[in-house]
Symmetry: C2
Subunit: 355 residues, 2 copies
């Protein structure tokens, strides 16, 4: 998380803006927290250019919770098309089967999660309630560089995207989206807050078995305060939105600046990996994630030495997910370019010393 | 919240125990957060004397979420008996009707939420999946001074208690309980954390439509880390558990000390109200809540002046819930005796000046 956000949270801890209260002590229905929440929503809308016809909901339950909450609200028990491009979308499909006819419309699973199935090859239903995809898969390191235009593919269904792991790292083309959801913990703030952005027209169709606390219409009608919201997480996410709005790269600002920075960070690492004879990344170039970069050492017996040296150099959490092995660099928004430069310098020196 | 807890949270903000990370930046699967979570659970178990045959789960969704999550996990679609003693248990009954035969077994609703129906009058089913009650009702200010012994009442069903609003204010007789749930925001920490204490034997009976993220067995099998838990809220709740364990009143410590203090605080206010000719509390003496004390001014035209004067004296949030009117003092664990003394002093002076 940005250091400026943490410092502000620490200095506000006992007394938020002279209120005499910590944010953690505020009633969620009081005017102080009401102001914090309204400002967080306005800043998120400005940051992400969310159009008026969408609601922004602050919820609980995380991405895994949404795997059930989305079909409970949107499926109407009908067919739902899933694009499965890695572990997360695979889990979403499995969970949705509790509530609807969840259908595999396209995948390269399980053997080849290193590229996306081309949209032209997707077998979309004529009458799906919605189409689900995960726009960035953290474990396999694949990312949609552009969202599909479902209308152009012959589907009238709204598109649902799980953007948990790359929200606020790049713009979203809302004209192509019906609903987007994401846990806040990667790019936006502390764990325990889920942000749902949903078109007004998709509200009000929940199944009877949808819990009230997770019914989008109930949450929207109550300004995200039907049940007590995760107040502290909303406050810290709000500080992060302000930090993101203030970021600049040359003439760019906000999300455009973040995207520029994320392209620079990820290109630096991919270019080095591609030029190396020790390291490799198996993902097709046009499907590579800017957030999560898995890579492998040509000689896997060097893995332990690589990780031990990295730890000594202060480079943490580089071990790949157990389901794919190797290494993985997760370079979310708060990671500065200098952090990636340090990683590349270490990787270059490690390779040289082993040559 | 206790000032000591807030100060500690502020000083740990940028660097928890020399880890170089804020708690908000930790991976929930890393060893640092694993230690924080394990210590929080151990401290909660020690504080509340939770027996080994119960799981302690850290979840999301709050009390209103649990109104659906409990029947999804425990009802097996069978009859469930509800004891309705105020707004919260009434909401729980209504939500459960989505998932099971939710049955009103006892109530004084809607005219007389000022006392509990005597357990001897409860019409319990012979085959209920469980019996639900809310052990403290915040709006009406009624509290179970003792949990019912369902076996003695002829029911073999496990007892489910919603103890959101008085958890950690008094001991729990776990021998009478099958499951207890509570949002953390009243007595235990920041909003966004729900604590569920559940007997092992009640796990594994969820309905197929129960979302995985809210399936108690899935949550228990994964040590509350099936989905990313609300890490910061768990950390702050853990600090609060330590603060509670350290509290003493004479020879008493921990929950026994808190109970002693809560009796002293609530008795001071109730005794004053009962001795006054301006103020009144309508709740039967043996059903009065130690946490939430609604009261009325004999002349309701004085309400605005009472609230304005209270605000000037720094006594906040005294307006009663809109569904009952009048005033309400919520004197949770973190409110010191001095706070109640200040309230009584103000009320006495207000009465004197209007006499």
């Amino acid at each position: 998380m940005p250091e400026a956000v943490l410092k502000r949270a620490a200095s506000d801890m006992l007394d938020w803006h002279g209120s005499g209260m910590s944010v953690m002590e505020m009633s969620h229905r009081g005017k102080e927290f009401g102001a914090i929440c309204a400002e967080a929503e306005a800043d998120f809308r400005a940051l992400m250019a969310v159009p008026e016809e969408f609601q922004v909901l602050f919820m609980q339950g995380g991405g895994l919770g949404e795997n059930a909450i989305v079909p409970l609200n949107l499926s109407q028990g009908r067919t739902v098309d899933f694009i499965v491009t890695g572990s997360w979308s695979s889990k979403s499909l499995k969970e949705a089967q509790r509530y609807c006819e969840a259908r595999l419309a396209a995948t390269n699973a399980p053997s080849d999660y290193t590229r996306m199935p081309a949209p032209s090859s997707w077998e979309l239903s004529t009458d799906a309630a919605y189409v689900h995809l995960c726009s960035n898969e953290t474990i396999h390191g694949v990312e949609f560089q552009e969202l599909p235009d479902l209308k152009a593919l012959g589907s009238r269904a709204p598109l649902v995207i799980d953007f948990s792991s790359h929200v606020a790292s790049r713009p979203v083309d809302w004209s192509k989206v019906g609903l987007a959801f994401g846990g806040a913990q990667k790019n936006l703030g502390p764990a325990g807050l889920t942000i749902v952005v949903v078109r007004n027209e998709l509200l009000g169709h929940a199944l009877d078995i949808c819990p009230s606390a997770f019914n989008y219409k109930t949450v929207a009608d109550n300004g995200s305060m039907y049940n007590t919201p995760p107040t502290w997480a909303i406050y810290v996410a709000g500080l992060t939105f302000k930090w993101l709005l203030q970021q600049t790269e040359g003439a760019l600002s906000g999300i455009a600046a973040m995207e520029h920075r994320n392209i620079a960070k990820s290109s630096l690492l991919y270019d080095f990996i591609d030029s190396s004879s020790l390291y490799s990344n198996k993902v097709a170039v046009d499907c590579r994630s800017r957030m999560n970069i898995p890579f492998f050492l040509g000689d896997e017996s060097l893995n332990d030495a690589f990780l031990a040296g990295a730890r000594e150099a202060g480079l943490l959490q580089l071990k790949g997910h157990k389901s794919v092995g190797g290494m993985r660099a997760s370079i979310y928004n708060a990671m500065p370019l200098a952090g990636v430069q340090a990683l590349v310098a270490y990787m270059r020196e490690f390779e040289r010393s082993r040559a």
